[in-house]
């Protein structure tokens, strides 16, 4: 890789240990992904926030570097394990809470905006077309590359952190013109958000770094979000393009049969004892839509709703929060269905959700069974 004199000096340790570590990560990532240089980025979005995932090692590491490290560009971050406003109701152990708060404190000390959200593209202004960013959250990276006209690698937790601390990232293939070698043909009729999640999950397994998807027609923001969530969960694919692609592209159909295979992989039960909505977290539009669908009805069982704090605040002002609480929902900000310790297999056997990403992590990390249903179906079956 070609490095500038300043980058070389940082790599040698002349600008302190933290910068040396950050440049070592960027150069190793760049060499591994055949980047010829580092380029400036304007926004980093970090993963590695939830104590449930990074553990004591992560907590100690962040606490250590926060003494010296400061971010150089706008930096936002992923959800943590709980919502401090209502964590006392969930019987979480003190150790978890104090370690999680230490992680939050370390990030804030480094100058990170405490957004605790996996949907930065919905709660922050999107920079101008073609802006280089570094997003570690997989659904956000895919959304940025495919829908927001931004450019990012599918970063790891550490490469995004290194980008935040240096304002730079390797100029890897996804930042240039990346031509997919496979096209998924969407054939399923009358798709809902669950269908798009399954399409994304399927495409993520088939695609390498990027994939064409044809037959999408008009797709709304929520369907796109569901697809990004599914795609980021199943593979390494970090971008989709609308359309058929070149004639020499391999063509793969996504029809009822393929959808059933994904469904059978993730749907392991027919009835849930808890409902979760929000993985990726819900935006204001989805909360408004849920309130509209409820039409005064109430949930027959527990329903957890995960959204960013800014969305929760807006929802409260508009009156949605009152309506959802009346319907029996628990509204949680700063955390997400995925890997929150608030969902525990000792208390819950089966979770009903409309999220493919949520289903994957509930099944594989939380260790509960999953019942997949579209939001419309959930409201029909689970409310009165």
């Amino acid at each position: 890789m070609d490095l500038t004199r300043e980058e070389e000096s940082a790599l040698k340790g002349e600008q302190g240990e933290v910068m040396q570590m950050a440049y070592r990560i960027l150069v190793a990532t760049g060499e591994a992904t055949d980047a010829e240089k580092l380029i400036p980025i304007e926004w980093a979005h970090l993963a590695g926030v939830n104590y449930n995932t990074i553990g004591d090692a992560g907590e100690e590491f962040l606490s250590g570097i926060s003494k010296e490290a400061r971010v150089k560009v706008k930096t936002t971050l992923n959800p943590m394990g709980f919502d401090i406003d209502n964590v006392s109701k969930y019987g979480l152990d003190e150790n978890f809470i104090s370690k999680q708060l230490s992680i939050r404190n370390s990030y804030e000390t480094m100058g990170v905006t405490p957004s605790f959200s996996c949907i930065p593209y919905e709660i922050f202004d999107i920079p101008k077309e073609g802006t280089q960013v570094a997003f570690a959250e997989s659904n956000a990276a895919i959304h940025a590359n495919s829908y927001d006209n931004l450019k990012t690698n599918k970063e790891s937790a550490f490469s995004a952190l290194a980008s935040a601390l240096t304002g730079k990232s390797p100029y890897s293939s996804l930042r240039k013109e990346d031509t997919p070698n496979v096209t998924i043909r969407m054939k399923v009729k009358n798709p809902n958000e669950l269908t798009y999640g399954m399409l994304g999950f399927f495409a993520g397994k088939v695609g390498d770094t990027s994939v064409n998807i044809s037959g999408l027609g008009e797709m709304d923001r929520r369907q796109c979000k569901a697809m990004c969530g599914g795609m980021g969960t199943s593979g390494t694919c970090a971008k989709f393009l609308f359309g058929e692609g070149d004639s020499d592209c391999e063509k793969v159909d996504f029809d009822e049969k393929e959808m059933q295979t994904v469904h059978d992989e993730l749907n392991t039960a027919e009835k849930g004892d808890l409902i979760t909505l929000g993985s990726p977290q819900l935006g204001l539009e989805e909360i408004s839509d849920l309130v509209g669908k409820l039409k005064g009805r109430s949930f027959k069982k527990r329903c957890m709703i995960f959204c960013p704090r800014t969305v929760k605040d807006q929802a409260r002002k508009i009156g949605y929060t009152n309506e959802l609480e009346r319907a029996g929902c628990e509204i949680l900000s700063d955390c997400c269905t995925c890997l929150t310790p608030l969902i525990n297999k000792d208390d819950v056997d089966v979770v009903t959700t409309n999220s493919i990403k949520g289903a994957f992590y509930l099944k594989n990390s939380t260790g509960v069974d999953v019942n997949l249903k579209s939001l419309l179906q959930i409201v029909e079956d689970e409310t009165r």
């Binding site: 591994a32 992904t33 993963a47």
Partner: protein, 129 residues
């Protein structure tokens, strides 16, 4: 030899696996012992070895596991892989564990228990003894 991803100079004994390693779920963070019954290195310690394996797999949070074993002094001296995956790459870069990517032929020629001198500044970075 295809690529040097993290530089360094060490000597040690090869511990080789034919299977990819998922650091998050497979390696004990305190002891550096492989805890996955289905892995061919089950119950072996990766501490102070030259760990040779095809590639890392699984969650990128596995990079934090590499940080853990390094802080607990149970990490390998160096790693040699066939394929570069970003979990292992960033984990090794963070903790300064030398990491080299080698060709498939060279990978198959390395055997368990071999003694290796590794020096990424040398024109011939891997010396078999």
């Amino acid at each position: 030899m295809k690529k040097i991803l993290v530089a360094g100079k060490v000597q040690g004994i090869v511990l080789k696996s034919e299977k990819p390693i998922n650091f998050l779920g497979t390696v004990d963070k305190k002891t550096g012992i492989i805890s996955d019954k289905n892995h061919d290195l089950f119950e072996k310690s990766i501490k102070d070895t030259i760990l040779v394996f095809p590639s890392g797999v699984g969650s990128s949070v596995g990079a934090y596991t590499i940080y853990s074993i390094k802080s607990n002094n149970t990490a390998p001296l160096a790693m040699i892989c066939q394929k570069a995956d970003l979990t292992v790459v960033t984990g090794c870069a963070l903790t300064n564990i030398p990491l080299i990517i080698i060709s498939d032929e060279e990978f198959s020629s390395i055997e368990n228990g071999m003694k290796i001198s590794l020096d990424t500044d040398s024109s011939n970075p891997i010396q078999y003894q």
